[in-house]
């Protein structure tokens, strides 16, 4: 693993952000819009559903954390798509760059995006709704870390699918993560799911994070068990997805599709 190669790819993506309004919008505009729209809906619902205590706190906290997972996944997948759109994959993989270094660079971009989005959403939530994201205290850190890693797993999985099936699978970059949303129990507790779906949600690390978040915000218990589950599942899921990426990469080289993936 050579840092200069990872740095080169990160620099390549940062150059893009210097002069691209749509890319800057992806970081600032959409998270801002998400928060404004859903934030006001939350305020409205809270006004007429006073029987759910701490409704605004739950909902806004969940919204911000979900966006972190979403942007973490996007950081990986969009970085790959940028290379695809630029027909640059051949230049990259005919250089000494390894697939591991490529993934590391996309992970670095993911961290960059999540950091920007967190700041935007945190500040906006405070300005518009007087909501302090730090209300979760130190638990916020392991929650965010776990969601970011879940986003990486989904991002690596989606990238592998796009690499394998080509540009026609591009839509997965935006849609795949929403397949995980119902079983992440972002806005409702795990208990409301039917039994069979509860079992599916149980193996999703994000569901444990959101359960933990609700426990902290309601003051009903410690999220340690949830976090242990989330960490364990995240470790297994990330390793499995990286292995899947390597397998897909090797398969594409055998099929000759790596050089045609952008066509």
């Amino acid at each position: 693993m050579k840092l200069h190669r990872i740095g080169a790819l990160v620099a390549r993506h940062l150059y893009l952000y210097r002069r691209s309004l749509p890319r800057i919008m992806e970081i600032f505009y959409w998270p801002f819009l998400d928060l404004v729209i859903w934030g006001f809906i939350t305020l409205y619902l809270a006004k007429y559903q006073p029987q759910i205590p701490g409704f605004v706190t739950f909902f806004l906290g969940a919204l911000i954390l979900w966006d972190m997972l979403f942007r973490s996944q996007q950081g990986i997948t969009i970085s790959f798509l940028e290379e695809l759109w630029a027909r640059n994959l051949m230049n990259l993989f005919a250089s000494p760059l390894t697939p591991g270094e490529f993934l590391s660079a996309t992970i670095a971009m993911s961290i960059f995006k999540v950091t920007c989005v967190s700041i935007v959403m945190g500040v906006c939530a405070w300005l518009f709704y007087d909501y302090n994201v730090l209300v979760m205290g130190l638990w916020l850190l392991p929650f965010v870390l776990n969601l970011v890693v879940t986003g990486w797993s989904i991002g690596v999985f989606t990238t592998s699918l796009i690499m394998r099936f080509g540009q026609e699978a591009e839509v997965l970059a935006w849609s795949m993560v929403f397949l995980f949303q119902p079983i992440s129990c972002v806005f409702y507790p795990l208990d409301v799911l039917p039994t069979w779906l509860k079992a599916v949600a149980w193996v999703n690390p994000a569901a444990h994070v959101f359960e933990g978040m609700r426990a902290v915000l309601s003051g009903s218990g410690s999220p340690v068990t949830n976090l242990i589950w989330a960490c364990g599942l995240n470790g297994v899921m990330l390793l499995a997805m990286i292995a899947w990426f390597y397998k897909t990469f090797a398969h594409c080289k055998v099929q000759g599709s790596l050089v045609r993936v952008g066509e």
Partner: protein, 244 residues
Amino acid sequence: MTTPVLNVSNLRKSFGEFTAVDDVSFNIMPGEILGLLGPNGAGKTTTMHMLLGLITPTSGSIRMFGMELATHREQILQQVNFSSTYISMPLALTVEENLWVVARLYGLPDIRRRVDDIVKKLEMEEFRQKITRKLSSGQMTRLTLAKAFLTEPKILFLDEPTASLDPDIAHKIRALLKEERRSSGLSILYTSHNMREMEEMSDRIIFLQRGKIVAEGTAQEIVTRFGQADLEDVFLKIARDSRL
């Protein structure tokens, strides 16, 4: 006896039932320019992609600098580069930014000097700050050539490098290639559909047809063997035979 910088043995690539490259073997010596000729679909590009590690061969071996590509990919590709009319560079970056990214990717020292040198050599000063999207096809070709030269490779794979260049720039590029070969012992694998260029540039030529080598030697040897007037006639004969 000089050791070849590139040794290809019994290289074969099949995609299902179709065999794109069939039992191809050849060497490239230090400082040699080897021309790879053949009609469309003869297997030139697939061969080049295998040499760049982008396609895994079905069988056979590729050795460069005495190392097997399958097991020493990083060490080998650090000393190799390529350029093709059919590739692009990130379009939203400037020419100079693209060159900086390549330089960092290969871990080159003294990047500013190297970028300045290559920009000057390829007469790219007037568009070095231009966004790549706004380049003409000739300027884009020069950028991909600059990317290839920037890393000072020991082996260069060139896929129709002068196809979209005007005669003046194409002539300068050929002169540059010859100069690089003379001064640094650069070895080149070259494909082109311009037969005059092929004769001018190549020390040896390999003719591929349906994935197999059908002729190998200097341009003159091949012309004599096929009993044709020039390399273009040899090409036409082989291409038309392969379509029968």
